[in-house]
């Protein structure tokens, strides 16, 4: 496996947005669990309305990166800014109030609440009719299941509810952890469209952690590969050879 020398990490990624502050700015971020540094000195800058896919093998720190940004894990070094606001030391609910939505990989729905209650809790205080219109645009089948308990939806349906709920919150920045897992192929296709369309309409910025490479490259503007907690390589999705460059890191 070839990796760029660790002495020259891509310190600042080019920004596409003309805005002065990135929607998400991560500088020199290190994080992990007690006794184990999982993410090392990661630098990221995502412009407003941009979609970045973070790829990489298992256990390379992708989910840890999201949890650290969200404030679920302590940061050992580095800083995080959200649309210019310092967010390094904020707890998760404060980060969420800055307009950040987190689509977790597991146990993210209120299992004993209905589909409708799950949606209502997420859009708290905002226009629920607008939220339902958003659900109709993403996964309309959910509207027929409003009274069903979320825990009784199938695994894939729960994933769809999770994504629909996040889009309905009107979050400015979405951190999405492996949303395609457990989804049937045609739904993954649809999801790609849903995400692109949400971005067109609302200018939502997104950080997607993905294993599904074709989906990631189809949806994201840019990609970055995490290898042992460091960004090993990054680029734009439309560049020729992007797929091969990523695959090089994914195969042992």
């Amino acid at each position: 496996m070839s990796m760029p020398p660790t002495s020259t990490p891509p310190t600042s990624m080019p920004r596409m947005s003309p805005h002065p502050a990135p929607a998400l700015g991560v500088v020199g971020l290190s994080s992990g669990y007690a006794g184990a540094v999982v993410v090392r000195e990661v630098n990221l800058a995502i412009g407003a309305g941009e979609i970045l896919a973070v790829l990489g093998k298992n256990g390379m720190g992708k989910s840890t990166l999201l949890k650290a940004v969200m404030g679920f894990l302590p940061k050992m070094a580095g800083s995080v800014t959200i649309a210019g606001t310092e967010a390094t030391r904020l707890s998760p609910h404060r980060v969420a109030r800055l307009g950040v939505g987190y689509v977790a990989q597991e146990k993210a729905l209120f299992q004993d609440l209905t589909v409708e209650e799950n949606l209502k809790l997420a859009v708290r205080g905002r226009d629920f009719a607008a939220a339902l219109a958003e659900v109709e645009a993403s996964f309309p089948f959910l509207l027929q299941r409003l009274r069903q308990r979320a825990g009784t939806l199938s695994g894939g349906e729960q994933k769809m509810l999770l994504m629909a709920r996040s889009l309905a919150t009107g979050a400015r920045l979405l951190l999405v952890d492996e949303i395609t897992e457990g989804l049937q192929p045609s739904v993954i296709d649809r999801l790609a469209g849903v995400i692109r369309s949400a971005r067109e309409r609302h200018g939502t910025t997104m950080l997607l952690v993905e294993q599904h490479l074709p989906f990631a490259l189809a949806v994201a503007d840019r990609w970055a590969v995490l290898d042992r907690g460091e960004i090993a390589e990054a680029g734009a999705s439309i560049e020729t050879g992007a797929r091969e460059r990523v695959l090089k890191h994914l195969s042992v």
């Binding site: 192929p185 294993q211 994914l250 195969s251």
Partner: protein
Amino acid sequence: MTEARRLSLILAAALLALAAIFAGPTVLDTYSVNVLTRSLLYAAVALTVDLLWGYLGILTFGQSVFFACGAYAAGLVFTHMDFTPGNAALALALGIGAALFTAAIVGWLAFWHGASALYASVITLVLPIVATQLLYSGGTFTGSSSGLSGFTSFDLSTEAWFWLAGSFLVAMTTLAYIVVQSDAGRLLVAVRENEQRCKYLGLNTSRLKIRVYLACAVIGAVAGYIYAAYAMVVAPELAGFVFGTELVIWTALGGRGTLLGPVFGALIVDYESAQLSGNFPFVWQLIIGTVFVLVIVAFPRGLLPMLFDLPRRLLGLLRPRAAVARPARVALATLDAAQTQGAEVGNGPALAVTGVARRFGSLTVLDGIDFKARAGELVSLVGPNGAGKTTLMRCIADGAERSAGTIIVNGHDIGRRPPEACVALGVGRKFQMANVFETLTVAECLQIARARHSRPSLWRRAQRLPLPEAAMHVIATTGLDRQLSTPAHLLSHGLKQALELSMVLALEPRVLLLDEPTAGLTKTERMQIGAILIDLAKKQGLCVLLVEHDLDFVREISSRVIVLHQGRIVLDGSVEEVVASELVKQVYAGSGHAGIAHETAPKTGGQEVPA
């Protein structure tokens, strides 16, 4: 550290504690010796609360009742019969018998298949109230509210009672310590952590809980018997709800799940209460209450874990710890083919599902499911999200799940058997979301998975863990063997999936149910695991039923595909037939991976997700 060394260290600590007990009366005043004798016996009961609550996860308020069983047996026999050595032995036997009888009833009520953790707490909350009422209504036989006193008992000095109570406590604590540190002790934690996974690993968790509960009842009864014989008075308060709750408070204060914490918690609080109630008769309960609230708020895990954490925290401030991989305690090994012990193959087909339906109220999730699969066949189950795939898996692995129909697995009709009995017939089920024991290490998770085959020792820790070849393959392929001492909750999502798959393979199943076994793994790892599955089916004749969304993966590994749509089987055929079918293209498959185009827009209302 070798096993012999570890065990001799524990015994050395026990001897040291015994020496302290024997030196006690020489340095303490008579009053303290008297009070502490009681505290030592209470501590033994607190120990049982910790075993049940701290290790097994059963919050119990009723341990006082078992203490009272032993105490009242002594009180009643010595009051109504003469005190003779024979009667003393009879009283002890009666006390233990009554405790076992009560515990068996409570255990049966609280831990039957399907009872939730709340059952145990509610029942043990009611138990002391019922017991106290019974003692009150016993008239002169039980002494009603004033209890029994003035009976003759063993003629021992104050020091001798202290030594006896102390030795009993040291012996029980040592025993409990050895058990919780052993392989069997890990099993207790596994049950607390994830009882469902334990059942699906073929372990009868209800029986395990009842056994531990019975053992704890006996310890409580013996402590109560010694108490009555020493104090020569018994009162209904011994069986009461207040005492039962105090035991829980001492356990929480000392630090649950540590054994020593609750023992010292009980000793210190009970001893100090006796002292303070003399000096501050009106406010001592307020003081105890305040301390309790402060400790729980400041150190939710209790005092002992806090004391252990203190040096670690102080040192941690000085030097940040780097990621150091701890050496694994257990060495993995491949099980010899001769040692494998898969379930016995019955006369019927490997897997036969006939007329199976599953309804939730008016909602029908599965209807008229009929199919058979041979040994050596690798069948993929595909279908839209919500088609009932996971429900079907659940019906095959738990006899109580289906609403209608019959299921034959490995040649045996599963009837209404619970999951652990289905495992015994040869079923292995991997869940959709990784389902492992979060606080246990990778090696411990694998050990629990083997517990059905090799009974875990009550006092030793295995140094070697033989696993079937297939499990070893998955472990090596995914690199889990380098993380044997990592707690499962620190594993990445994909590695958790791989761990659960290895755990299920460690069961040596004959019929393997895999719900998206490779979700979260990279394409390369998927293909490697696919090869292992093919091997299992072809060479070892397993029947594999697999839920999978990646049609490339399905095409690569399966011999046959069943398509489930809206709770019914709509297609059952070879991979080529199914993938090429119009129906699958229409309701399931996407435009193909490479086909996801940048400009794909949601066609609102166009492409409905099947409900």
